[in-house]
């Protein structure tokens, strides 16, 4: 039996606006074990909001409500902001979509990684330096000493994203939330970054929440997939069975992809049923 790392029950994210309250996430429940959990959906489906809500990164006026978000038995919803800071980065880390916006442009990469590391541990500068170089090597960066001295603009997108992953993994978190970590990257680099993440998840027994809009990628890479639509989970399935998914929304998304092996004159266009957005969220708790 797989142990449960994270248990999210009935999560809501709301944004009050002039035209009433907008519900970005509506009653989402899922558990995460030592596995790769994919969350897919279109933009605006609430997948990124779900990831951010777990770390309580949603700012006012946004409101996060949940029956519980428990990490190894501690309910994150009940923690003070100070205790929460000890969770972020240390126990749950997050890799954002675009490395260009997540790295500080006026600090060398080495200084940033060392800073992140020393914030969470009492290591000396020399230890932190050695650890940073080691982590950069772990994400297959050649010549890590040079990269430590470099500034973010000198890095390509793929390298930037690997640096972010390295930075997030140094404190050895239990859970990594990756929000579209490879969308800004080329296919060839994408595979590289994924295999690095895969290896780290396996070696360290981490739980991974992988947020993406790319169905094929998720089907290949994850163990279990949640499909979100309009803030709800419409379907949960094993990643290898994604192509036999039943929900018309999932089917519609799959059919709208052009395929090299099956040429067609016209692509199927997704027909949205208003029923989907009112239906109750499917629970993905194990």
């Amino acid at each position: 039996m797989m142990s449960t790392l994270l248990d999210v029950e009935n999560l809501w994210v709301r944004f009050p606006s002039r035209n009433g309250v907008f519900d970005a996430v509506r009653g989402v429940s899922f558990t995460l074990g030592r596995e790769r959990l994919g969350i897919v959906g279109e933009s605006g489906s609430g997948k990124s909001m779900t990831g951010r809500a777990i770390l309580r990164l949603i700012r006012s006026p946004g409101i996060v409500e949940a029956d519980q978000i428990s990490l190894d038995g501690t309910d994150l919803m009940k923690l003070s902001e100070k205790d929460m800071r000890a969770v972020r980065g240390q126990r749950i880390s997050m890799v954002m979509q675009d490395p260009k916006f997540s790295l500080n442009p006026v600090m060398t990469i080495g200084d940033q990684i060392i800073e992140a590391y020393r914030l969470h541990s009492a290591a000396s500068k020399a230890q932190a330096y050695a650890k940073s170089v080691e982590m950069l090597e772990a994400v297959s960066i050649r010549n890590p000493e040079r990269v430590m001295r470099a500034y973010p603009h000198e890095m390509s997108g793929g390298m930037g994203q690997r640096i972010m992953i390295a930075m997030m993994l140094i404190p050895n978190p239990e859970i990594l939330i990756a929000d579209e970590p490879t969308s800004a990257l080329d296919v060839s680099v994408q595979r590289q970054v994924l295999s690095i993440m895969d290896k780290l998840v396996k070696d360290r027994g981490m739980g991974l929440i992988f947020i993406s809009h790319d169905l094929n990628l998720v089907a290949d890479f994850c163990d279990r997939v949640l499909i979100m639509y309009a803030g709800r989970i419409v379907e949960v399935c094993d990643a290898d069975k994604l192509h036999d998914a039943k929900h018309p929304y999932t089917r519609g998304l799959l059919n709208s992809l052009p395929r090299l092996d099956v040429p067609r004159d016209r692509l199927d266009v997704l027909e949205r049923d208003p029923e989907w957005s009112v239906a109750l969220s499917v629970s993905a708790r194990v």
Binding site: S188, V189, D214, S256, L257, P258, L260
Partner: protein, 247 residues
């Protein structure tokens, strides 16, 4: 006859020690009514080729012919009536404080049309948006709707050659399908010629008849889509790219 013919195109940025050769000796032909794809990873120079053709990358050498006539450094107005471009990011390519009506009206005015009102109505219908979008601003539109506006703007001068720079890479797959269908319909109805840049081989496989694979500024291989589908790429890099995109 060739609609567009590119021969030994070099494009560079910067000078002397900082000079970067972005495109090196690119050569390809696009026939009238054909849809031609350019694929490669970021930085391979595929977008730069489009930018050089339209004059957005000023430093280039080589020969570019449109309908058999060479293009010089200064492009006549008739050039922009024939060739139009659709950009990658619909969030950045529309003026945030111009309504759809202003965007299309201004383009039509610049190209010397008189019946602007009727044409704006027609253009919006052609790209499947309808009249209720006419007086909206970009922030009131979704990504797919914005890309439709960008396509309508490109169609305004009634061009014959459309240069598409990753027209769907910023969009969701469901919206991508709508835009690709729209582009396919427009090409059929108006007998357009496309040059489409994409990093997604399956999109190019769906849209194009032939494609060129680029790496580090060089075109390493030109192949037709049937060869692509049957995995008959001959250059090792195209093979690698094909494998990576099939997973």
């Amino acid at each position: 006859m060739n609609k567009l013919s590119v021969n030994g195109l070099n494009v560079w940025f910067g000078k002397q020690r900082d000079r970067v050769n972005a495109v090196k000796g690119a050569t390809f032909d696009v026939a009238q009514g054909e849809s031609f794809g350019l694929v490669g990873e970021s930085g391979s120079g595929k977008s730069t080729i489009l930018r050089a053709i339209t004059g957005l990358a000023p430093n280039w050498s080589g020969k570019v012919e449109l309908d058999g006539r060479a293009i010089g450094k200064v492009r006549p107005k008739s050039f922009f009536k024939t060739v139009q471009m659709v950009f990658q990011d619909p969030y950045a390519s529309l003026h945030p404080r111009h309504s759809v009506d202003q965007v299309l009206g201004e383009t039509l005015h610049l190209h010397g049309f008189r019946d602007i009102d009727a044409r704006v109505v027609k253009l919006l219908d052609d790209v499947g948006l309808g009249q209720k979008f006419r007086f909206r601003y970009p922030h009131q539109l979704s990504g797919g709707q914005r890309q439709r506006v960008a396509i309508a703007r490109a169609l305004a001068p009634e061009p014959e050659l459309l240069l598409l720079d990753e027209p769907t890479s910023a969009l969701d797959v469901s919206v991508q399908a709508e835009i690709l269908n729209l582009l396919a319909d427009l090409r059929r109805d108006r007998d357009l010629t496309y040059v489409m840049v994409s990093h997604d081989l399956s999109v190019v496989g769906h849209m194009c008849d032939r494609l060129a694979v680029m790496k580090d500024g060089h075109i390493v291989e030109i192949l037709d889509v049937d060869a692509l589908r049957s995995m008959k790429a001959s250059h090792p890099y195209s093979k690698q790219l094909l494998e990576a995109s099939l997973g």
